[in-house]
Symmetry: C2
Subunit: 459 residues, 2 copies
């Protein structure tokens, strides 16, 4: 059997058991941002420990002394060679909230197989991709293959700031030393072409509340007299961008480095056309600074996005009130060289300077977050990975600079000293973070194949 056929064959032989295990993991509603799901997160960590122990891993479940104790799982399995390569695998078992529930066609935490796709919150991001890695490891161990030393970190707060893992970082520094850090939390290129992520944006986020009257007012009696927080918030949020879509916050973009010509050219290879994008998303790529092309905007430029905005009446018909307050959820994506403390301070100052008269501005749920990064294209690990992906797909790998963030990657890179290797098998149709998230069986098997080939290459 060829190396590339090994994982698919293993999957076919064990399909029922693998799906059963995967579904067990997906049934746990591990919304790490919501304290009500703390128990589900603990159950997921325990479930993963039980999966890893029989494979020869030493497994420990850690929680920090402060904050919400969403557990972090740390596992290690010695390699065949005494001084061989050490591979650190990072993944997360937490998921985005299932909201809006009404958008789901199947229950978000009851995985459902339809046309060889598994529908569930977390089916792809990141439980599906993590579980493909774990099954890849298991298949190699069952086949008696030599493996490199494997270290695994699985956390439950990737979607909400990785606070437990950040708190634990100092005591994990020695234990996580590694040569390569594998992460499967990214996507393929167009036409399902494998891709290596050479850069990610950082992320930071917060909630802003603008308060005016002590209670909702009659908008006839008070209209034109009382300040309207909905109106004030709309103005504040509108002020974050210029008319051409460019970020208008002073100082926010000061440290942004443009990409090299090679990076820009390679990024274009992996991009959807305008027609493909419009077809996929339902609208043209008309967001962001219109002076730049869409690929540059998504790969190499920072953003400030409104993720939520709520004030006053939202039911049927009309209710003529001036709402007492208005709330928005904002997140910023950062590119390499931008410093999260600086960009957050710039946005904070921008808002404070423009707080409308008569109203009070408050920031809460602040996550200053982590910076983005870009990796050198000609590193040995990238060359090895490109070879492996060429075996899987004769077209070879694309390099991509994803707009999304895995904030913890920059932190773990720093902590472990390892070279990050981000290869994932997501697709746009997976609809991660949205209702009806799903992951294809074919994508799952490709993840397993990648895992087996790469670990053998590193052994």
């Amino acid at each position: 059997m060829s190396d590339t056929a090994f994982a698919p064959a293993y999957f076919e032989k064990n399909r029922a058991a693998i799906l059963e295990s995967w579904f067990e993991l997906l049934r746990l509603p591990t919304v790490g941002t919501d304290p009500r799901h703390l128990g589900d997160c603990a159950r997921a960590a325990a479930w993963l420990k039980i999966f890893l122990k029989p494979l020869g891993f030493e497994v420990e479940i850690l929680t920090p002394g402060s904050g919400i104790p969403v557990p972090v799982l740390v596992a290690e399995r010695p390699g065949a060679k005494k001084d061989g390569t050490t591979v650190l695998f990072y993944g997360h078992y937490d998921v985005q909230p299932e909201d809006p529930l009404s958008g789901w066609q199947t229950p978000p935490f009851e995985p459902t197989l339809i046309n060889e796709r598994v529908y569930a919150r977390g089916a792809q991001d990141n439980k599906g991709q993590v579980f493909a890695f774990l099954q890849g490891v298991r298949s190699l161990i069952e086949a008696g293959e030599d493996l490199p030393t494997l270290k695994i970190v699985l956390e439950g707060q990737e979607e909400s700031g990785s606070s437990a893992l950040n708190d634990l970082a100092p005591i994990l520094r020695q234990r996580l030393r590694a040569d390569v850090m594998m992460v499967s939390d990214t996507s393929c290129g167009p036409d399902n072409r494998p891709s290596i992520v050479a850069g990610l944006r950082g992320v930071q986020h917060f909630t802003v509340t603008l308060t005016g009257p002590a209670y909702d007012l009659h908008s006839g009696v008070h209209g034109g007299v009382a300040p309207n927080p909905a109106q004030g918030l709309a103005s504040l949020l509108a002020s974050l961008h210029n008319a051409d879509g460019a970020i208008a916050v002073a100082g926010f973009c000061d440290r942004v480095h443009p990409p090299t010509d090679e990076e820009r050219a390679l990024a274009r290879q992996g991009a959807l056309t305008l027609e493909q994008y419009t077809q996929e998303i339902g609208c043209p790529p008309a967001g962001g600074a219109q002076a730049l092309d869409a690929v540059s905007r998504g790969s190499f430029e920072p953003t400030i996005e409104i993720n939520g905005m709520h004030a006053g009446y939202g039911g049927p018909g009309s209710k003529t009130v001036i709402p007492s307050s208005a709330v928005a959820k904002l997140s910023m994506r950062l590119v390499p060289n931008q410093r999260p403390e600086e960009t957050f301070a710039a946005v904070q100052k921008h808002l404070a300077d423009r707080c409308p008269p008569g109203m009070t501005l408050a920031l809460s749920e602040v996550c200053v977050g982590a910076p983005g990064f870009r990796l050198p294209l000609n590193s040995p690990i990238f060359r090895l990975a490109a070879d492996v992906l060429q075996q899987m797909d004769t077209r070879g790998a694309l390099f991509r600079w994803e707009g999304a963030s895995i904030p913890v990657v920059a932190m773990l890179q720093h902590l472990s000293g390892a070279a990050p290797l981000l290869v994932g098998f997501g697709r746009e149709e997976d609809k991660i973070h949205c209702p009806n998230e799903s992951y294809g069986i074919d994508q799952f098997v490709r993840g397993m194949t990648w895992t087996t080939l790469m670990l053998k290459a590193l052994a």
Copy 2:
């Protein structure tokens, strides 16, 4: 017994029965804008018919052939003199939605008496004020007093555009002919001083929806690429006003007539000071065009207010999405001479001209509404009403130009040929349209007193 002591004495004697009846009416959740409450509206109309029949009224409950059939009650009782004055009383039994329910300290539809105030949705607006009028009429009839010819119109869609009454208007023209139109849906001046409303603003409202992606997107993957409807809507809403708070919609204010010096001076008499306002409302009167004083803004200027604004995530923590769509509820207050069709068209054009690229704008739940009006201060009916109010309060009546709207008043004025007489006994602390709406027993009794004195003066 003096004329002014008659109604208070009647109330004290019949207190338990009056409260019981009033509470029955308040228990019906007559949210006229919500089709789920159609049955409650029909029950309220039936309840009012049963109240009026024994008093000698011919009562008919009408519904138009089209639209939501929220019933309109029309009643008539011949006066003592054959060619005497005909008084038309207008009121509404519908109420604003109780939302947000969490803000209520007692159930909104279970009236609760605390410290001589009745807490319930509609306790004041308008069931409380209507019921004070009806009890005033009843007390006079029981005392055998001569009355003018009385016509009563009670509708269930005042808060949502009066569509049934507007539809029925053509067939009601003859039946509603009158000399004076009494309405009790307004407030006293500061320090509880009685006031005659010499002007009201008109109102129009609609819902605007901005749609971008076909589904909520990951704001990392798509940030800076996909258009963000929350951001687009914030910009659209912000564009409605200039930085100084003045309306920025071209053509919207073209027909606005400034008030006379006398009107402006009288309006100031009835105004709260900045300190009183800030104390009452919890923030300074910092809304509207800052080039004008607060009294002018609230009495004589139009507004465009955001009553609601909703997009994306609003739960705890963060969810990094680009929402698929964003919705706002807007209402405009109009001053005399502005034409609702023109102002609506101006706002519609303003929004359409600025629809952000890649997104779709839709207007729905449109109520083009009714114009505002201002009445001449030296009319005979105003002089008579001022005399009556002087009997009730030696300070005499204030004239007020309220910022709120009773859109149907302009329509009924036109239909009936009657001179509008708007005297109500609301106060800011009643919190109409808000959680914990209430009405004081003293205010209710003053409404009864006003009714008995004025109807005797008109008999």
